[in-house]
């Protein structure tokens, strides 16, 4: 049943999605090669491209998947189908996640290739920017939730980004601060991101799949509460981190360097490490002297 919905969503959105991939295929290499003389940009391009791709995909897909002028009326049509709104909601969520995931991987591969041609170590993005990618994935889920209960498209566009920013910001900061290896993803990221992601998924369910049963107003409140409850641990963590900031000292005797690179001419370096007293922390330096 969900497969039928997925095929339906693919047929509906394939042109927009293929257009996005084609647009990225042109935009990312051009941007990366243009920025080859600016090492700061070149270094950040892959992570930035992944983030931008995810955001663009959210804006393109989430609004059209759930929104549009006929969205409210079509809810009843979807609700009468054997799978009900639950199957439709799951398929829309999967479409968004698959679409965004493929677009992000595609753009990261393009950026890696493009920055590789400019002399940048091509594998470094995967290590250094994993926190950002993780936060981007959670942003995607948050936007999915928001799109699911903000059916009119204009409302979605006005509200999705600010709300996503407010909800994901603490996680982003935590992710930036945390140990950024995928292989040993830090527990704060997993717990806080997991809570936020789960909150977003449950929020989508209440916002879309339970919309007719609960009524628009109650379903929207339930959805918002789920989002906020999911975000609460991330906000709490951020509050603690702001009160007791921890600054890593690379000169500390127990500092251990995990990875890093230094560009030719010492124009830029990036390193990742931990101290024994504060595991899963990293330090980065944007300029090297």
């Amino acid at each position: 049943m969900i497969a039928t919905h997925l095929v339906f969503e693919w047929r509906r959105h394939r042109l927009a999605w293929l257009g996005l991939l084609a647009g990225l295929a042109v935009a990312i290499p051009v941007a990366s090669m243009t920025g080859a003389g600016a090492p700061l940009f070149a270094s950040d391009a892959p992570g930035l491209a992944g983030w931008l791709a995810a955001t663009m995909t959210i804006l393109l897909f989430a609004g059209s998947l759930f929104g549009g002028p006929d969205a409210g009326r079509s809810l009843h049509f979807l609700a009468r189908l054997p799978g009900g709104l639950g199957a439709a909601c799951t398929a829309k969520g999967l479409t968004l996640l698959l679409g965004a995931g493929i677009a992000a991987i595609w753009s990261a591969a393009l950026a890696t290739w493009a920055t590789g041609t400019s002399g940048q170590p091509s594998e470094i993005w995967w290590l250094a920017d994993s926190g950002k990618h993780f936060a981007a994935a959670i942003t995607l889920l948050t936007c999915l939730a928001f799109a699911a209960w903000a059916l009119p498209r204009s409302f979605f566009l006005l509200g999705a980004l600010p709300l996503s920013g407010a909800l994901v910001l603490p996680l982003w900061l935590v992710a930036e601060d945390a140990y950024p290896y995928w292989r040993s993803l830090g527990w704060p990221q997993v717990l806080l991101g997991g809570a936020l992601g789960l909150g977003a998924l449950v929020s989508s369910y209440f916002g879309f799949a339970r919309r007719i049963a609960l009524g628009p107003s109650r379903s929207q409140w339930a959805a918002l509460v789920c989002l906020l409850v999911g975000a609460a641990p991330a906000w709490a963590h951020l509050a603690v981190a702001v009160r007791a900031p921890h600054v890593l000292d690379p000169k500390s005797p127990d500092f251990r360097l995990h990875s890093g690179y230094l560009l030719e001419g010492r124009a830029r370096s990036r390193s990742t490490g931990t101290t024994a007293s504060k595991a899963h922390r990293c330090c980065r330096s944007r300029a090297c002297s």
Partner: protein, 252 residues
């Protein structure tokens, strides 16, 4: 037409519902026996559409019990939905879809989808398959929606104002398709309408709803014993209309 009161397809017992503080259904009780056709009559705002949505399980009544095919609609939606066909008053499929898209989308979702019968209905009702719903006339769209609702051969068919705003040709075509189903006796049909002529031509039973309350309910021949069978539309007039509308189009 078969009648079996022991196993009613729809059984409503003292159902109440309200939106906010406004009561929409106020103690509604009636039954639809298997194989019969019931006309739910009432003026605009009487609560007909709310009642249909309740039977579809889209929401739970505030109090009272509703049973459809022996199941509680809001609890057993997954079991019930493949057994209930519904034609809404306003076509509510995505307006970018064509009837072909719609049937392709629906066919894999219903185990009982009868592609041959659907093709036959498409031909008989002359539904254009490759025009988007947003560009179809109301009559064409309603015919396409009715074919979709009949396509999986549900034991219960719910129709919400299916004849409103249709021209005589579209109305007679739709009526003929429904009468054919009624004659087989395999399907039970509930039609919410305020078109009394159509109700008289189709229904075995009538329920009159006024401001959320049932004011009259029962078999049509008991409620109106002196009623005459409705006059069929004179064949000549129908043909004249068809010829006239065709001439109009050819003149343009």
């Amino acid at each position: 037409m078969n009648s079996s009161t022991t196993n009613p397809v729809i059984r409503l017992n003292n159902v109440h519902h309200r939106f906010g503080k406004k009561p929409v259904l106020d103690g509604v009780s009636f039954e639809l026996p298997q194989g019969e056709t019931l006309a739910l009559l009432g003026s605009n705002g009487a609560g007909k559409t709310t009642l249909l949505n309740l039977l579809l399980g889209l929401f739970k009544p505030k109090s009272g019990t509703a049973e459809v095919l022996g199941l509680t609609p809001h609890k057993h939606g997954r079991k019930l939905r493949p057994q209930v066909g519904f034609v809404p008053a306003i076509p509510d499929v995505y307006d970018w879809m064509t009837p072909r898209d719609l049937y392709r989308f629906l066919a894999p979702q219903y185990r009982t989808w009868n592609a041959a019968a659907v093709d036959e209905d498409i031909e008989r009702l002359s539904v254009p398959m490759d025009i988007r719903f947003r560009d179809l006339s109301r009559g064409q769209a309603m015919k396409a929606m009715t074919i979709a609702a009949l396509g999986f051969e549900p034991p219960l068919l719910l129709l919400d104002e299916p004849f409103a705003g249709l021209d005589p040709t579209a109305r007679e075509d739709l009526l003929a398709a429904l009468l054919e189903r009624i004659d087989t006796g395999r399907q039970s049909i509930l039609i919410a309408t305020h078109n009394l002529e159509m109700a008289a031509r189709l229904a075995d039973r009538v329920v009159i709803l006024h401001e959320g309350r049932v004011t009259q309910a029962g078999p049509i021949d008991q409620l109106v014993p002196e009623a005459q069978p409705p006059k069929p539309l004179p064949r000549g007039l129908h043909e004249l209309f068809v010829r006239g509308t065709q001439d109009q189009e050819s003149v343009r």
